[in-house]
């Protein structure tokens, strides 16, 4: 059975995960946010809501930049992972 959820799909990808985190959020802004555009916009499901707070993971990031663009409040500090780290496409 092929994976349907994003989490299971990401598991087939090849990553070199950096210890340095390349996503940050501005919690003061995010806690007041009513839109949470980042959640549906992220194709790697990096952002999640739990009890009114936004949480994020960076390990599965596909480095597309969607979160940075949809956030109207500039609350996401998204940079590229350090050179050589992050997603490493074998097909592309």
């Amino acid at each position: 059975m092929n994976p349907k959820s994003i989490e299971d799909k990401l598991a087939v990808n090849k990553y070199d995960i950096d210890k340095e985190v390349h996503i940050s959020i501005h919690e003061d802004i995010c806690n007041k946010c009513e839109e949470y555009y980042c959640i549906p916009a992220c194709p790697a499901d990096c952002f999640k809501e739990s009890e009114g707070h936004i949480t994020f993971s960076y390990e599965g990031c596909l480095e597309c930049g969607s979160c940075l663009i949809v956030c109207e409040k500039d609350a996401i500090g998204w940079t590229l992972p350090r050179a050589g780290f992050g997603i490493c496409y074998q097909y592309g």
Partner: protein
């Protein structure tokens, strides 16, 4: 003293490798920096490449480049929830050199292209990220990368859709989510003979199949299936702003598409090998950043050089053509020893002489038309509904097609609205 390069190209994708190849071939000391472990490691796309730009550079490139299949057939389907309406075009010509297009995978292809630049004399530095620009007043004089300062007469930013350097150079501001489409793709492994049976292919023949329909839930965009040698590229491309506003994940739409009765059998028993995502700048001419300043040029996706006409999206050949135009600009500047903004201002002129800006100008109204939600939901349903009425034999007397069309349109859309949309289509594409 550190070596000063004539040119530093940032990003070893199609724009960067074309530019680096051309500069090195003309004898310029050229460095290409690439943040991935190897060229292509960070790159994905839908998967059909149109060849003329590359064929000019490397005649008969398909003999040595890692292409998957030549595209013999183009299919287009409109999907309603349980039905589909398809058209197909093929011509013998597309199966003969120089071919029209190829399916190919970027991880292999970009590595090959960068190796051509390397053979021409460019230095390819993979695993090196351009963190910032080096400035002398208002002039760009190199890059900062990996803690080092690397000086150069000119920097060419081929660093992709999210170009950090174009932003640092002050040539673009923040993007609008309405100007972006999000593409997600699965690579699905299937035995070669099964792919050929299911898609009616022989040997190296391939198909490019595009879909629009109700599976995007009215969000502008569509889906695709492209055949590779032993894999399928299956993906969806949808408007980023609407995903955010409607709170829909592109992956949910992709799953819905994959389960459609017209699609599911084609993919059955395939094994997922990769899941990837990327943004596509689809705002056309209106979203193009500034293309140059003192000691600095922008090419490829970084310059938003993508053509989206509705049925197809093209970027890689625009990237190559713009990388080559940037190289010509730099070679000219090197001869006069002048890398000022004024000297580099011939770059947009060179782009204007090629198909790059001509195509973008011709289709500048397409982005607006492509936002029309009726195109993605109502018309596919209408086509399927009408076809169903025509083909269904319910044992009663037949009605004329015109009557059936009126029935299909009832409560959905007026003739006036359809005529308005047709006029819009005529004006934009």
């Amino acid at each position: 003293m550190k070596q000063k390069f004539d040119a530093i190209v940032v990003g070893a994708g199609p724009a960067g490798s074309a530019c680096g190849y051309s500069l090195a071939k003309s004898g310029l000391a050229t460095l290409v920096v690439e943040r991935g472990k190897f060229p292509g490691a960070k790159n994905m796309w839908g998967g059909v490449f149109y060849g003329p730009s590359l064929n000019q550079l490397f005649p008969g490139f398909w003999e040595e480049a890692p292409v998957e299949r030549y595209i013999l057939r183009h299919k287009f389907s409109l999907l309603a929830p349980e039905s589909s309406f398809s058209t197909e075009f093929t011509t013998k010509k597309f199966g003969e050199p120089p071919y029209n297009g190829f399916s190919l995978l970027r991880s292999k292809f970009d590595r090959w292209f960068a190796s051509k630049a390397e053979q021409a004399g460019a230095i390819i530095a993979s695993g090196l990220q351009a963190d910032d620009l080096l400035w002398d007043g208002k002039r760009v004089v190199g890059i900062k990368a990996g803690g080092d300062e690397l000086p150069a007469s000119v920097v060419i930013a081929c660093d992709g859709v999210n170009s950090v350097l174009a932003e640092k150079a002050g040539l673009r501001g923040k993007f609008s989510p309405g100007d972006m489409k999000q593409g997600i793709k699965e690579i699905i492994q299937l035995p070669r003979d099964l792919i050929e049976q299911r898609f009616n292919l022989a040997g190296e023949e391939g198909v490019a199949w595009e879909f629009i329909g109700t599976f995007t839930r009215g969000i502008p965009g569509g889906a695709f299936i492209y055949t590779n040698k032993e894999t399928l590229s299956v993906g969806i491309v949808v408007q980023l702003s609407e995903l955010a506003e409607k709170k829909i994940s592109a992956n949910d739409l992709l799953e819905e598409f994959k389960q459609h009765p017209a699609v599911a059998n084609l993919l059955a028993d395939g094994k997922l090998a990769e899941y990837s995502a990327h943004l596509i700048p689809v705002g056309g001419k209106a979203m193009m950043p500034g293309l140059y300043k003192d000691g600095f040029l922008v090419a490829g996706d970084a310059a938003a050089l993508i053509l989206a006409t509705g049925l197809a999206m093209e970027g890689a050949n625009f990237a190559i053509a713009s990388g080559l135009a940037a190289a010509r600009t730099v070679i000219k500047a090197k001869k006069s020893g002048d890398f000022s903004e004024k000297s580099l201002s011939c770059y947009p002129e060179l782009l204007g002489q090629s198909f790059v800006l001509k195509d973008l100008e011709a289709f500048k109204k397409a982005p607006h038309f492509l936002e029309n939600p009726r195109v993605y939901s109502l018309y596919p349903q209408l086509a399927c509904d009408l076809a169903e009425r025509i083909f269904t034999n319910d044992g009663k007397a037949r009605k004329k097609t015109w009557e059936l069309l009126k029935q299909s349109m009832k409560d959905r859309v007026s003739f006036l609205q359809m005529i308005r949309d047709l006029i819009q289509i005529k004006r934009s594409i």
